[in-house]
Symmetry: C2
Subunit: 205 residues, 2 copies
Amino acid sequence: KISYSTVRRLTLYLRELEGLLEEGQKTVSSRELAAAAGVKATQLRKDLSFFGSFGVRGRGYDAEDLADNIRRILGVNKEWPTVLVGAGSLGHALAGYKGFALHNIRFVGVLDSDPAKIGTTLAGLTIEPLERIWDYPKEKGGKIVVLAVPASAAQDVADMAIRAGYDGIINFAPVRLRVPPVVALYSVDLSMAFEHVTFELSTEN
Amino acid sequence: KISYSTVRRLTLYLRELEGLLEEGQKTVSSRELAAAAGVKATQLRKDLSFFGSFGVRGRGYDAEDLADNIRRILGVNKEWPTVLVGAGSLGHALAGYKGFALHNIRFVGVLDSDPAKIGTTLAGLTIEPLERIWDYPKEKGGKIVVLAVPASAAQDVADMAIRAGYDGIINFAPVRLRVPPVVALYSVDLSMAFEHVTFELSTEN
Ligand SMILES: NC(=O)c1ccc[n+]([C@@H]2O[C@H](COP(=O)([O-])OP(=O)(O)OC[C@H]3O[C@@H](n4cnc5c(N)ncnc54)[C@H](O)[C@@H]3O)[C@@H](O)[C@H]2O)c1
Ligand SMILES: NC(=O)c1ccc[n+]([C@@H]2O[C@H](COP(=O)([O-])OP(=O)(O)OC[C@H]3O[C@@H](n4cnc5c(N)ncnc54)[C@H](O)[C@@H]3O)[C@@H](O)[C@H]2O)c1
């Protein structure tokens, strides 16, 4: 089984490659890419060797080619119809974020339990009642659901989504969800982002 | 230099320990904690050995003790006064998130350039004009700034924050910021969270 850290590093390599390509760079050495991602070059070569052999020894990698390979490995070379549950502040910020479409994450539905929100639009989608969660897997091939609801509602909504046939859950609510092992769950806690900064500021002392 | 991946795993170990403590568990083995964090037990022991010797061989770790040690290593055993720039959808979601206070991140100021927002309140703070960024390091010991502004404004705001004396930046804007090496910068891209899920769903195929 590939560890969390390996997947995390692959997502980082992809962002760094996309940055280099934006600046017009066509090839990159493992040393340069590893340094940009904050890891050792040996770690980067080990990570990539799990999935095949890329690049030519001594000449580095073709940046576009390697980015395409990593997208394929991460599964974002194809589109993932996604349903957003919770159209509050966080839901608004997520629905409006262009970074998702760049990585083939497409919101096909936005659901909320607040009658005042139902029928209004968000990022071009009409906010619908929670019950529509059952319809999206059949209607739009909805595979992934995002939970941007309060902690008190998250487990119930997750249970509903699993029964409705969603395969993946991205959870933002501050609660430990219990889901069957077959469901791919990823919980976000943005305070972890701060800890990268506080660690750096603390070790300098 | 400690790699990005090591710091990331430490943040994960801390969340898993907090989860176990919430459920009333007092001790944990390296095997159990590693499995919960999605890494190998050898990796966990190696990570912790960088920072000292914790736990007793064969008897595992005291969960509260280890969590306190990791908080100290990550620097979140003390408070970090933080200024939020951008009171849009994302800013509202961040200011209202209780997970930050649990890890000693305290918003002391919320700034925005939109006159219609200035003077209104968000999470108990009055939204002030961007120029106040200069005052917070002296007035409230502001050390970290969060950028929840559009990509077009992010570099300018970052430059201002660096000149005003902030040590750390958490950037949400989809743009590669250029900052001097002495500044601790962490950029968030939530599409990375999706890639953990799409990877898991793709490898099953
Ligand atoms: N993980 C993180 O880093 C992070 C950061 C910010 C916010 N959050 C969390 O994200 C969640 C949303 O935050 P927010 O600021 O947008 O809150 P919010 O109150 O603005 O929005 C919550 C939305 O969920 C809707 N809702 C409530 N119960 C529902 C249900 N059963 N079904 C469908 N919709 C329902 C509400 O009507 C509302 O529109 C909260 O749990 C918050 O703690 C997490
Ligand atoms: N990284 C991620 O995963 C992620 C996710 C969601 C949103 N975003 C990004 O976060 C940012 C904010 O998103 P949002 O949905 O809250 O947008 P928004 O338009 O709702 O909010 C932006 C706010 O910034 C303010 N602003 C603009 N220029 C400013 C300046 N020079 N100084 C101070 N304030 C300024 C605006 O007045 C507004 O209140 C965007 O760049 C968006 O792309 C990132």
